[in-house]
């Protein structure tokens, strides 16, 4: 039986703790150590973790529940960013109007594209969404230049009206939440360690938690059950008196709103919007995140988003000189051989490693990282039971929730 039960509450609390402590957890290496470059606890990257987490959570409501695979969700992300930057230009540097408009624009744009694309299913649906997103990208790049500032991208300028803010003088204003600067960062020094607490990250993190909570509610609702029914058997649904189209459209619009929200937050952290945010590679990325983490699971998409963003930002920094320091202790010939061997997989070659990992996950763990976790827990649980752990035994007897 599915309900917002104890398990979900625990999951939500765990995620909340992770968000709260991320600046510490992600910075395990002392600042001066050679491993410090693997620290992911800097504001810019942490913001990306939670913002793309939101994007993937929303995508999962469509893809994970209904099985409709959209290849065009970056269009809604990009639209959200443009909408937010316009709010910064016209109204105020406060992020609230920007985020609200980003969600609304993402939803409306999704309603339009979804209405047309959902007339088909399967591969034809995917192609339609892809076509629409590429069309949006092309429009943003050229025809819609007055709205999007074309190639350069939409930016703030000193001459923007910003009717609710005092006139800017000297430098460009920064985004804020009722006066709290989104870029405000407090650095905590703990011995050789450094932890950065950033206002923008915490606001995005809080919004991600709300988005996550909403998605759990949707998963456990009759509506969520209907979305899974769409994936399972549309014929049966219609002969049971249910109209499938409004359900899929609602899921599409909701995921579009999540994408718009993510786009708005990106702009709130850094008030820029460019057409490349709408490109098909960006749409593909959220598909990868969701599948890698585990489509249809609650936490999977967030894990997938974190994983891919980590690779993109950290793994990509391992260059040959880093490799040489790693293998420096080895005899020269061996060192050169190893560096040559590893070279294609790191640095600019991070895509290759990610691609291989993705293949391995899809082939051996079709349920994504979440299934990997479940299997590990299964093995550990079995050991505990063998050891006579009464708690584990009791837990395994409980009926599936």
């Amino acid at each position: 039986m599915q309900s917002f039960g104890r398990k979900d509450t625990i999951l939500l609390i765990v995620v909340a703790l992770l968000v709260l402590l991320a600046p510490v957890i992600l910075n395990p290496f002392p600042q001066a150590s050679s491993l410090a470059q693997f620290n992911a606890g800097y504001p810019d990257l942490m913001q990306r973790f939670v913002i793309f987490g939101i994007f993937a959570i929303g995508f999962n409501i469509l893809f994970g529940l209904t099985g409709y695979l959209s290849f065009g969700h970056a269009a809604f992300l990009g639209a959200g960013s443009y909408a937010a930057v316009w709010m910064f230009k016209l109204l105020s540097m406060n992020v609230i109007p920007a985020i609200v408009l980003a969600v609304v624009v993402g939803g409306l744009f999704a309603a339009l594209i979804g209405y047309v694309s959902l007339r088909r299913s399967g591969i034809y649906f995917s192609i339609l969404t892809l076509a629409f997103a590429q069309m949006s990208f092309a429009l943003a790049y050229s025809v819609l230049t007055p709205l999007t500032n074309g190639e350069t991208g939409l930016q703030l300028s000193l001459s923007d009206p910003r009717i609710f803010d005092p006139a800017a003088t000297g430098s460009l204003p920064t985004t804020n939440l009722f006066g709290i600067d989104m870029r405000a960062t407090t650095t905590i020094f703990a011995g050789p360690w450094e932890f950065q607490l950033n206002a923008g990250y915490y606001m995005s993190g809080l919004i991600m938690l709300v988005a996550f909570w909403l998605s759990i509610r949707i998963f456990r609702s009759p509506f969520g059950m209907m979305l899974r029914a769409v994936k399972s058997n549309q014929q049966r649904m219609s002969y049971t008196g249910l109209s499938t189209r409004p359900y899929t459209l609602a899921a599409f619009v909701i995921s579009g709103m999540y994408a718009g929200l993510a786009g708005g937050l990106l702009a709130a952290m850094d008030p820029l919007a460019g057409a490349e945010r709408m490109q098909w590679t960006a749409s593909g990325e959220v598909v990868l995140m969701t599948i890698l983490g585990g489509a249809g699971s609650l936490i999977g998409p967030v894990l997938g988003a974190g994983f891919i963003k980590y690779f993109e930002n950290i793994f990509s920094k391992i260059n040959d000189s880093v490799l040489h320091t790693w293998f420096g202790a080895l005899p020269d010939g061996l060192e050169t051989a190893l560096v040559t061997l590893v070279h294609p997989f790191v640095g600019k070659g991070w895509h290759l490693t990610l691609g291989l990992l993705f293949m391995l996950v899809v082939i051996f763990l079709p349920g994504g990282l979440v299934e990997g976790g479940r299997r590990i827990r299964g093995v550990v649980g079995r050991r505990n039971r063998k050891a006579g752990d009464p708690e584990a035994r009791a837990a395994s007897k409980q009926p599936a929730e």
Binding site: M1, Q2, S3, F4, G5, R217, I218, R220, S221, P222, F223, G224, M225, M226, R228, A229, K231, S232, N233, Q235, R236, M237, S238, Y239, T240, G241, L242, S243, P246, Y247, A250, I254, P399, A400
Partner: protein, 252 residues
Amino acid sequence: MSILEVKNVGKRFGGLQALGDVNLSIAENSCHAIIGPNGAGKSTLLNCLIGKLIPDTGSVMFDGQSVLGRKPHEINQMGISRVFQTPEIFADLSVWENVMIPIFAKRDGSFRMHAFESVARERKVVDGAMQMLDDVNMADKRDLLAGSLSRGDKRRLEMAMCLSQNPRLLLLDEPTAGMARADTNNTIELLREIRTKRDITMVIIEHDMHVVFSLADRITVLAQGTPLVEDTPDRIKGHPKVQEAYLGEAAH
């Protein structure tokens, strides 16, 4: 009073006249069996009643309203549910979610955005589904994935899904095919009991004559897309045309 009126219905597939000129009038609260050899057009006829197929000619009236031109979900909402020849269930959902969905559909109509209510809090629906599963002796299987059930259990589940909607007209396409004898007898009992408890009209397609003669008030024999005879079970048993066209063939 007849609740379903089928007039001059015909359906062609390419060169094959699957239904010739079918006329059928089904009395309210009766159980009407349709029998006939394989390929006679029995399933095709049901398909024309629920909007899966649109007949080339003729009309289908349910309770005075035409069903032709309506979408399948609209026809279901009029009060017609169907058990298919090959089970149509939600294979990836649990057994009791399978039964809750039709109850929600009956209560909330073809679409409702109940995205923030919890399924578990819908006591009436949860209990209704549980009761229904009890009625078909499947309560112990409620947490299983529907796709993992045996063929016979899938049929019973599908029947539970249809009955949970309390339909006015229930269409059953070979509901006991693939079932063990004991389950077949249970199914007969269940359908009989339902008929005593509430108003329901049934159209049942069946090859198992035991089931047909246990349930039906009237029987239509269909062969090559046209009704041969329609009569009471007793008269059908002795009918020479039927012996020849259908029962005789089964006796070989």
